[in-house]
Amino acid sequence: MAWAQVIAETKTQERTVESDRHLFASLVQEHERYLYNIAYRLCGSREEAEDLVQDALVRAYRAFRSFKPGTSFKSWLYRIVSNLYVDTLRKRSKFREESLDEPVYYEDSEFTKMVPDQSTDPSQMVEEKAFVGEVQKALDRLPVEYRLAVILCDVEGFTYEEIADIMDCSIGTVRSRIHRGRKALRNYLHDFGKAKNWLPGTVHEDV
């Protein structure tokens, strides 16, 4: 880790083919687990995730000269995965064109009071196989831009600024995508979440 960072700070003019090879290999070794994780959450299947990671690694190596030492390799690598994934979807003509509903406008505030204390802890929920399956299904239903934004934020813990960098869009767009994506996920999981006493309160019908 420390070694990789030291090398990452090496000035461009000091880079050689040999040092690049070592650097690339060590960085990939450090990040491949998380790379696979995000690929899995994006694709929803192990086979597709593996193909995506392999393609991304080959592409990343070929483009490694364009990686600027001192910047985040993780963001750079995730950008490659993201672009590759979107490209793949487009090629397969499975690109989802549907858009989510506009943000909800609330005319009134007649809602059931929530009872958060009685809800089930999410960390316990994800231990249930069936629920994890539902969560992944919900992710799969999201338009790709929303799915990517939510995964980068909630699963990977990136900041909005980092996500904007990875997705090559403005922070405002990231904010909107995450919000709409998260709302849609909540809606997709509503029935299941209610049955499992995971979701407090009620969802507005218009949402």
Partner: protein
């Protein structure tokens, strides 16, 4: 209420602590008095918590071996394709290269010799993955890099000049097969 609509749009960013101090205060004040938005807020918190709590899915145990196999195939296909592509223009250069024991030669791109690589990128990835998997230092088997000075004034087949956008290198292996690989 207009307030609710504005606040609603800020809820996720508020949860993620990605709002300005002023926005944060506005949301907080609103949530204190609006049960509807509070309900919405708590549901979104729950949703975020759920996805944040998803466990990290590990790489399959045989990921590296499958990747290696794939690179092997790609490398083989790559070799054949590139060999066929390069056969015509390189046939004379290759023969001469063998005679002179040259394992790499620069191409075109004016007089500039960019990266001279004895291995293609796919081969490198393959070797690297083997190296990572085994303690045996396979890199020892890799021939030393050719320096620019080694190549100065050496063969420069011009018949493929301009075909490749990237610097191209060549290598000769086995029975005089010339491999051409893009690098970066």
């Amino acid at each position: 209420m207009v307030d609710c609509r504005k606040i609603d749009q800020l809820l996720s960013a508020y949860i993620d602590q990605e709002v300005s101090p002023a926005e944060s205060r506005a949301v907080r004040v609103h949530l204190e008095r609006c049960s509807h938005c509070r309900n919405e807020y708590l549901q979104l918190v729950r949703t975020k918590e759920l996805f944040s709590a998803l466990e990290v899915v590990d790489l399959p145990l045989d990921f590296h071996s499958r990747f290696e196999a794939r690179l092997e195939q790609s490398s083989l296909a790559n070799r054949l394709l590139r060999w066929l592509e390069s056969f015509k223009p390189f046939v004379y250069a290759g023969a001469l290269g063998l005679l002179f024991g040259v394992i790499g030669m620069p191409l075109a791109q004016g007089t500039k010799v960019a990266k001279v690589e004895p291995f293609s990128d796919l081969q490198f990835l393959l070797v690297e993955h083997r190296r990572l998997q085994q303690s045996e230092p396979l890199r020892q088997q890799i021939p030393p890099l050719i320096t620019e000075s080694d190549l100065a004034g050496k063969l420069r087949p011009v018949s493929v000049a301009g075909v490749f956008e990237q610097p191209v290198t060549s290598e000769i292996t086995g029975a005089g097969v010339i491999l051409v690989s893009h690098h970066f």
